[in-house]
Amino acid sequence: MFSIDPVLELLSRSLDACTLRQGVYAANIANADTVGYRPLEVSFEESLRSAAQLSQSAPSAQQMDVLRQIEPSIVPAAADTVQLDQQLALMDKNAIRYQMLVGGFERSISLLRMAVLEGREG
């Protein structure tokens, strides 16, 4: 598929990471009672941010190639044991972030749709 908009691609990759993070928090909560279980985390946005300084302008094609190399990865969390309330709070935060990203995606799509349809209803 040809890329309409690098920002849309960024958003969708962020959504991928959000989905994985949701799974990691669900696994942390699910395995809270297992003896010796170490909670997990997802690392993505930090590496994405550091890979390319692009907070000022839209990413160029080369920058997008660099960004596509970065995959979200599962890493051990800082804490030794699972705290249910904290994991739930993190999960809720992640869910809000997911909805924000979907909202941004939809708004962005609706702008494009408007431009494609030249203001006509469709």
Binding site: T19, L20, Q22, G23, V24, Y25, A26, A27, I29, A30, N31, A32, D33, T34, V35, Y37, L40, P72, I74, L84, Q87, L88, M91, D92, A95, Y98, Q99, V102, F105, E106, I109, S110, R113
Partner: protein
């Protein structure tokens, strides 16, 4: 894939908690059963919960390469008798009383079993909440593009 697998993780954990609940309830229910010999006393059970990573447990899922298959899922590995010494109560008139007048009851501590029940219920709630959040995300994804 994706969010559905995550719901499976939470659902598996709820199943595990239900098994733990059944075990704790069985132990509590049998706490007052008496027996004449220490060996014949009801042995309280313990549910051993282990975390299993699906991609390691089942090589066929390795090929799928989905990140969710690398997340550990809790399973009840086995139910084992706890091997605790029976509680001996001095009740001379009891039909099960031995020569010294002692009756054997299972070595179940009702207080710690109740505490277990509370922790089980907390875990169950947390997993249910997690399941709900994942479901709401799934629902939100279904709405993508349905608006103008």
């Amino acid at each position: 894939m994706g969010l559905f697998n995550i719901m499976d993780i939470s659902a598996a954990a709820m199943g595990v908690q239900r098994t733990r609940l059944e075990v704790a309830a069985t132990n509590l229910a049998n706490a007052q059963t008496s027996s004449a010999s220490p060996g014949a006393t009801y042995q309280p059970l313990a549910a051993i919960v282990r975390s299993v990573v699906p991609s390691q447990a089942d090589p066929s899922r390795m090929a799928s390469g989905a990140a969710e298959d690398n997340l550990p899922v809790p399973v009840v590995a086995e139910l084992v008798p706890m091997n605790v010494a029976p509680r001996r109560m001095y009740e001379p008139g009891h039909p099960d009383a031995d020569a010294q007048g002692f009756v054997n009851y299972p070595g179940i501590d009702p207080v710690s079993t109740m505490l277990d029940l509370i922790s089980i219920s907390r875990s169950y709630e947390a997993n249910l909440k997690a399941f709900d959040i994942t479901r709401s995300l799934l629902q939100r994804s279904l709405d993508i593009g349905s608006q103008r």
